[in-house]
Assembly symmetry: C2
Homo-oligomer: 203 residues x 2
């Protein structure tokens, strides 16, 4: 009697964690990586100035605008977007390499970036991290205190618009509390690995 | 600033737990209900004889063949199937009542039954519980020891055929170990509740 397992190993996942500015993507992603060490981080390139405590090549690749433009022109980004006057981009080669090795990949992008990944990478899994309410998002943006008042108002208005993009995503997780949000995301990863017709991420 | 939550409560789920005879559906379902008390059981009707320890109206509704036939003719079953010479059926009214009250419903059916539920109930979530291997399934069927040798051979052959129906299901969970299988199913339920476009079960 055969002891061969019934099922092949599921293909690697390409998960995009997105959501409005201030919702808590960074904190959620940090905790998620601690609990799911199999998730390969792919470092994003940006022209935004380095903030205190940020490490080049770890938090972001900090590029000057000319170099960024050069890579974008060569189609080397899976997605790139300009947000608040700065450019962000996910290097395609790094994502492809991880998937080819069978590793799951998680990307953090803004809402525009997620739409771009969907166009460029069939089978990507798009996850929207949502605040419990707009009032709560406003409080979180204020608490972060990295923007001046005008930037704050602009981000809040952008957040309102970003919420309208929810229908383009596969899943929505409400970030009431980081541990719960991470547990929900891990459940989604487990469920995706149990799909009979799995998504196959192709970059 | 609005504190209204962004998202409506997800609609109730109609989950069908299926899989080959002997894979462990009963044990998994029992544990699942303990851990997810929100899942409404819907008791199946059957013409199969009551086994020792089974309670009418709890494990099954034990019906005589005439009464079963009458209900089937009136379209009162969401699914009904004849397996090993006995009839099984899920009363539609009970499923509809639970869903109308916003309760999640879980059904246990054989593989034929799951296909029937999919036809009769749009938006049902079909879950296939699979053995780690055919050898392991044979051992479990033997250990159960409720069938004679001929019945055992028949069930094993049926199980082989039932495995071919896997592509008709949404998810597959391998029952290596009950606690792990239940955790995977709970993750699937969580993920389904996070879907941006939820399934809407209609009976």
């Amino acid at each position: 009697m055969s002891n061969t397992p019934w099922l092949p190993r599921p293909p690697p996942l390409l998960m995009v964690l997105s959501g409005p500015s201030g919702v808590g993507k960074d904190v959620v992603l940090q905790r998620l990586r601690q609990e799911e060490p199999s998730l390969s981080p792919v470092v994003t390139a940006t022209t935004r100035p380095q903030r205190p405590g940020e490490v080049d090549g770890m938090h972001y690749y900090f590029l000057d605008p000319n170099r960024f433009e050069e890579m974008a022109a060569c189609g080397e980004f899976l997605e790139s977007a300009s947000v608040y006057g700065y450019c962000y981009g996910v290097p395609k080669a790094a994502v492809r390499a991880a998937l080819d090795e069978g590793r799951d990949v998680v990307l953090k992008t803004d809402v525009q970036g997620a739409a771009s990944v969907r166009r460029m990478a069939a089978g990507a899994l798009l996850l929207f991290l949502a605040p419990p309410s707009l009032g709560e998002l406003a409080r979180r943006l204020k608490a972060r205190n990295t923007e001046n008042s005008e930037q704050y108002q602009r981000r809040l208005e952008t957040a309102r618009q970003e919420m309208m993009c929810l229908p383009d995503f596969d899943y929505v997780v409400v970030n009431h509390e980081v541990a719960q949000a991470v547990a929900d995301i891990r459940a989604i990863l487990t469920a995706e690995r149990c799909r009979v017709q799995p998504r196959r991420a192709r970059v």
